[in-house]
Amino acid sequence: MLPDARQAWLDAQQAGWGDPARLHRPGRLAAQALDQAREVIAAAVGARSDEVVFTGSAAHANHAAVAGLALGRRRVGPRIVTTAIDHSSVLSAAAAAGSHAPVEVDHEGHVDLDRWAAAVRSTGTAAACIQVANHEVGTLQPYAEASQICQQAEVPLIVDATAALGRIEFGGISGWSVLTGWAGAFGGPASVGILVIKKGVRWRAPYPTDDYQGGRWPGMPDVPAIHAAAVALECWRQSGHSVGERQHDLIDRLRAGIAQRVPDVDVAGDPVRRVPHLLTFSVLYVDGETLTLELDKAGFAVASGSACSASSEHPSHVLAAMGALTHGNVRIGLTWSTTRAEIDRFITVLPPIVADIRATVGVS
């Protein structure tokens, strides 16, 4: 978490805010903080503040976005169009809606716009979903073109901005109906999901609701956590631009260094049109679990999309759909404070770790 966001969270807990639906003073203060947080999110995504809803996680927001449009448009049909590399929460919600059309991507992860258009225009399409940027490989989707196709076909579009919110400017996207995000991806609390539903969109709550958040997400909001999420997003708006530029350069350095110093490595994703902070690569003949643990011992906390090291026995659907190697996978997300010295140390420690693991299994 960003230090300012953590401090804001602690301060808000101390302040003794109450239930924002109540008229007493602690309730009014909480309601005021909630309104301010909505304004911060609304400004970042190009929406009105009363269109902003807070959920419990990115998965909740994506489930609500997909299921709510499927319910609101059930007379049109059950089909949900996504890309093949959307987040698993989008894919599972699309499958649950009854008819899921995943559209293929190229080797760098860009959706095929001709196939996208054909899928969106098919009769019975309730909604479509596209990511601003992929959460594993960082590739930016051609979201403006994809959005235009949806507008022409009069199909509501969900924009999953989880990996992009705070990291890049994407205010230019117009024509979306629902947008999702997650504070955990921009240095806020992991317990805050973001669901923005434009006025007039045929979205219906696909679960029982109550009086909170206009009947769009039930239960009392965790206002201190939401306040901290807004503070984190404000940090990115005010001074994130230079951080993003630095991270973009650091990932360039990492990409080049790894490709140069580790033989037989498959570096995934678009090297240029991407979010600044993400990199995924796979190392041939190496298992992801061993690699992740060895890097952890060397002081680097990395994720992996390999089957043996993820929480699933299946490899990353993102890497498989892109035709990238799925074993020996390492996923790096830079933090606000990652330095060039840390990147250089990573480039130095990786080659001998890989060489040792390959020697153990008898290949080189």
Binding site: Y285, S306, A307, P315, G323, A324, L325, V363
Partner: protein, 78 residues
């Protein structure tokens, strides 16, 4: 992917029950035991075998001629 007319001529690796990257390592170890232009058969039931064998062929200049899990055919090109 559909099987083409490439003959499958002899070498078969049974890697069923093995987790990736083991089946891919076995293919890499044994590919030179078939002649250039000949085909090696891999039997593997790990869910990563299909995508990883395709990626290995791309990275190593070999051709995946059939992918019908648990059966895969690789033609040695070089």
């Amino acid at each position: 992917m559909t099987e083409d007319a490439s003959p499958y001529n002899g070498l078969s690796l049974d890697c069923r029950g093995m987790k990736c990257p083991r089946p891919i390592i076995e293919v890499a170890r044994h590919i030179r035991e078939v002649q250039v232009g000949a085909v090696l058969q891999l039997l593997a039931d790990d869910p990563a075998a299909g995508p990883d064998l395709a990626a290995w062929c791309r990275m190593r200049g070999q051709t995946l001629v059939a992918s019908d899990p648990p059966r895969f055919l690789v033609r040695r090109e070089l």
